[in-house]
């Protein structure tokens, strides 16, 4: 069995491979920090002697490394690869993309130093200090130049769903970051409006940046790996525009019952329900992935399932009756892990398993490490989201009962949080195996004596039609 490797794969591989190398490095570093933060949640004395490693800082460090280190790098790498392939020619402006990749990671490292020294902002998904925003903005734009030139200069006039989502994410992140930066840092809004802007940014970072990047990968890989056309593809346009127009309006759902004008959470609740249409279209289009074989398809199918489940849970928690039990509990964290880890990360994992052999022209170094990563990731994500949801259920029940003292609530949630730590450890192990496998595979580019076009093992690829 021989898989297709296009001319643009090898000619355009340097920027995506550099971004992926950085992404996986941050994934392992973020996982380590996430594990420390998770242990500190149930054992607060752990590493309490070092101010740099107290929970407030480690939690912000883990989130920053995960979102801006892993997800952003991986999303950009795969977006470039998808846009380059769909363009039908090698990526242009690769030097811009390479420079952007280097400076983006310098910015992320500077942000982590800032957070570690106490400059974290406290805003969800925007914990990085304001002084690194400019470098992130320009470096992201430099990488985006290459992708947007591939999109606008494509040889075939037709455009696909992967195009829309990838190009959309490339445009939208600089826009939402610039608005959030001006309104929260350079000329900050006052009082409660800060919470509204911060909530808006956190939601947009997911719905208008990370989710489109993940969907671009899923829409590209699923039909190619399964060898089947996407079902009900004519609805894909509606799904895309629904996400673009409605996605940014759902941020106010985190402010239910808060001291904000009532119309803000109301609009968010209605938008969350409307967004279910987009989710339904995604499920309709990509359902073929659930019957596909191969590691890449399995990862992506799991990610799509988590994406759909996350959207349904988001909409359900907008109801006041549900929010009364879930607000101010670990449920927010469970939802975030389901979205960022369960949906976006697993789709990126699938995309990387599909793309790297085509970029390098070599099969993955170890099938065993691939299977270990798949097993540990799926088990870890299910355990992590499940245990945090369990902790939230216990916490919500106890918080509603005024007879239960705070130390009792902490004692009741402890077993669930220990399970979450076990899940973090499993995920970290899986990610280390992925990192090792990636580095080993990427290094095989140098070995010219190996056959150039790979023959993919059945465990990693669906057979071609």
């Amino acid at each position: 069995m021989k898989t297709e490797v296009t001319a643009s794969d090898s000619s355009s591989r340097n920027p995506p491979l550099l971004l992926l190398l950085m992404a996986l490095g941050w994934l392992v570093a973020g996982g380590l920090l996430g594990l420390v933060a998770s242990i500190q949640l149930h054992s607060p004395r752990f590493l309490d002697g070092c101010p740099l490693l107290t929970y407030g800082r480690v939690g912000a460090l883990a989130e920053t490394a995960f979102v801006y280190g892993w997800l952003a790098n991986a999303g950009l790498a795969l977006a470039l690869w998808v846009l380059g392939r769909l363009a039908g020619e090698p990526l242009r402006a690769q030097n811009w993309a390479l420079a952007g990749a280097v400076f983006w990671n310098v910015g992320v490292a500077a942000a982590l130093v800032g957070v570690a020294t106490g400059d974290a902002t406290g805003f969800a998904l925007l914990g990085l200090p304001g002084y690194v925003h400019l470098i992130l903005f320009f470096s992201y734009s430099a990488v985006a130049v290459s992708g947007l030139l591939a999109w606008s200069g494509r040889l075939r006039q037709v455009s696909y769903a992967s195009h829309w989502y990838a190009a959309g994410a490339l445009f939208l992140f600089p826009w939402i970051l610039s608005i959030a930066h001006v309104m929260l840092f350079s000329a900050p809004v006052h009082g409660v409006v800060q919470s509204i802007v911060a909530g808006w940014y956190a939601q947009c970072a997911w719905t208008l940046w990370l989710a489109p990047l993940a969907l671009a990968v899923a829409y590209y890989v699923i039909p190619r790996a399964t060898g089947r056309v996407l079902a009900s593809y004519e609805f894909a346009t509606l799904g895309f525009w629904c996400l673009i127009f409605v996605g940014g309006l759902t941020g106010g759902r985190h402010l239910l019952g808060g001291p904000v004008p009532a119309w803000i959470p109301s609009v968010a609740v209605v938008s969350s329900a409307l967004l279910l249409f987009h989710t339904f279209v995604v499920l309709l289009n990509l359902r073929g992935g659930f019957s596909g074989a191969g590691t890449a398809v399995r990862f992506i199918a799991f990610g799509i399932a988590a994406y759909v489940l996350g959207a349904v849970v988001d909409a359900a928690t907008c109801f006041h009756a549900v929010a009364a039990h879930t607000q101010f509990t670990f449920f927010d964290e469970a939802q975030r892990q389901l979205a960022l880890y369960g949906a976006a990360s697993t789709i990126f994992f699938g995309g990387i398993y599909f793309a790297v052999p085509r970029m390098t022209g070599k099969a993955w170094l170890s099938g065993g490490l691939v299977r270990a990563h798949l097993f540990l990731s799926v088990a870890g994500i299910l355990l992590l989201a499940g245990s945090l949801a369990g902790a939230a259920a216990v916490q919500g029940r106890d918080l509603a009962n005024s007879a239960v003292a705070f130390p009792e609530i902490v004692r009741h949630t402890r077993p669930w949080l220990v399970a979450a730590t076990a899940a973090q450890a499993a995920l970290l192990l899986g990610n280390i195996s992925f990192f090792v496998n990636f580095v080993g595979t990427a290094c095989r580019i140098m070995n010219v004596s190996e056959p150039a076009v790979f023959d993919p093992p059945r465990a990693m690829e669906a057979p071609a039609p």
Binding site: L148, L149, S178, G191
Partner: protein, 112 residues
């Protein structure tokens, strides 16, 4: 796919790159040009009219910061120097470090 088959990418004009940067900076420019100049000042940052002289330090963030800096300097001096608090009643002020030594010595003497 080996290196001999690699195709060079088409060249890029600097105008195209500049146009993309301009497009991506659109909302930054809009926010700075439209939002910032028309931003309503926060009530706590506006100097109120007819403020009594003794409350003048509360007028603006700058006066509040200056007052706070002066207050902290005064407190730091007081915590590190000797002086009278109430000469008639015989109450004195002494550096915190010296006060700690005296308290520790007194407790030590009492234990013995």
């Amino acid at each position: 796919m080996n290196d001999e088959t690699r195709t060079p990418p088409r060249p890029v004009s600097i105008v195209a790159v500049a146009a993309i940067f301009a497009l991506l900076s659109l909302f930054w420019v809009l926010a700075v040009e439209v939002y910032v100049p028309h931003r309503a000042p926060a009530p706590q940052n506006e100097a109120p009219e007819n403020l009594p002289k003794e409350l003048a330090w509360k007028a603006t963030p700058a006066t509040r910061r200056a007052y706070l800096a002066e207050l902290r300097e005064r407190q730091a001096n007081q915590a590190q120097s000797y002086g009278w608090v109430d000469k008639a009643a015989g109450v004195v002020r002494l550096p915190v470090g010296r006060a700690m030594e005296l308290v520790a010595r007194d407790y030590g003497a009492r234990k013995q």
